[in-house]
């Protein structure tokens, strides 16, 4: 059963990822990205990270991909990219070599070092344990709000800065005559 879930989720992930990089239409690439993100969420559930799986679906597949689609529709760039032409002659063969080399190196390092993985933490609570249904959320919250509370507060500052900066970046100048008063829109 676990093997079945893993194989199905891995197939979703790989089909979606290859779809992102080979589909010439940006909307199709974004929809393939949703497939990959759902596959990763399934694997999160299989690895007892239930809260992160929910966040993955809500934040990634919900918010981020919708933001991508919204920008694609807003800008009207939803026309197919000419993938047949290769702007730089040897770009694609070199990219394939780099990709295969990267995968080979990482996979080799993983296989070589797989025996050095030893349990060193206190374990991860799973939902079927004695902690109740929300034991994973409780354990994650205990770690987040005790060991990493300062970083957690800093992320709120980061999000506010990102939102304000994006509003300033993407703001349309009011008019050409009043463009000298709209600071930050350059």
């Amino acid at each position: 059963m676990q093997l079945f879930v893993f194989v199905c989720a891995a197939a979703m992930i790989l089909v979606g990822a290859i779809g992102v990089i080979v589909r010439s239409h940006p909307v199709h690439a974004a929809l393939s990205l949703i497939l990959t993100l759902f596959g990763v969420a399934v694997l999160f559930v299989a690895q007892d990270a239930h809260f992160l799986a929910a966040v993955q679906v809500v934040v990634y597949a919900g918010a981020i991909v919708v933001l991508f689609l919204f920008v694609i529709m807003l800008l009207g760039v939803d026309k197919a990219e000419a993938l047949r032409v290769d702007p730089v002659k040897v770009q694609r063969p070199l990219a394939a070599i780099v990709g295969l080399g990267l995968f080979g190196l990482i996979a080799g390092a993983i296989v070589r070092s797989r025996d050095s993985l030893v349990v060193r933490g206190h374990g991860i609570d799973i939902a079927s344990g004695d902690g109740g249904h929300d034991s994973n959320i409780r354990q994650l919250a205990n770690d987040l709000f005790s060991n990493h509370v300062f970083a957690f507060e800093l992320t709120s500052v980061l999000l506010v800065i990102a939102v304000v900066g994006t509003v300033l970046l993407a703001r349309r100048p009011r008019s050409s005559s009043a463009s000298d008063t709209s600071a930050g829109s350059k």
């Binding site: 990089i21 690439a29 349309r172």
Partner: protein, 106 residues
């Protein structure tokens, strides 16, 4: 059931994550639409998240899941800022690709 079915180990998850990372890296290298470049960066971020979650399970350490939480927050902020920059570039030049942005240099 006499057929011995292997249960997926942590190594399988890590190899799958490395494959996803390599696909995302190839996408960044070959695509020219800046929006698709961002999607490929999201693929690589998800590969790293998968690695963190698999190792958190294997090592019994909840800190891996906490790190994935922070990675998601930073990824959301990064996408928001990056799409803002892309919107402001593509509004002036609707057919801009990643090669044309090299003209920004002074």
């Amino acid at each position: 059931m006499h057929l011995a079915i292997a249960s997926p180990t942590t190594t399988w998850y890590l190899v799958l994550a490395s494959l996803l990372f390599a696909i995302g890296a190839v996408g960044v290298l070959v695509r020219r639409n800046p929006l698709v470049l961002f999607m490929c960066i999201e693929l690589m971020l998800n590969a790293v998240n998968l690695t963190f979650v698999a190792l958190a399970r294997k090592l019994g350490d909840i800190g891996g899941q906490t790190t994935v939480f922070f990675v998601m927050v930073v990824a959301a902020a990064e996408v928001v800022v990056g799409l803002g920059i892309i919107v402001s570039i593509l509004r002036r030049r609707p057919a801009a690709t990643a090669d044309d942005i090299a003209e920004l240099k002074g």
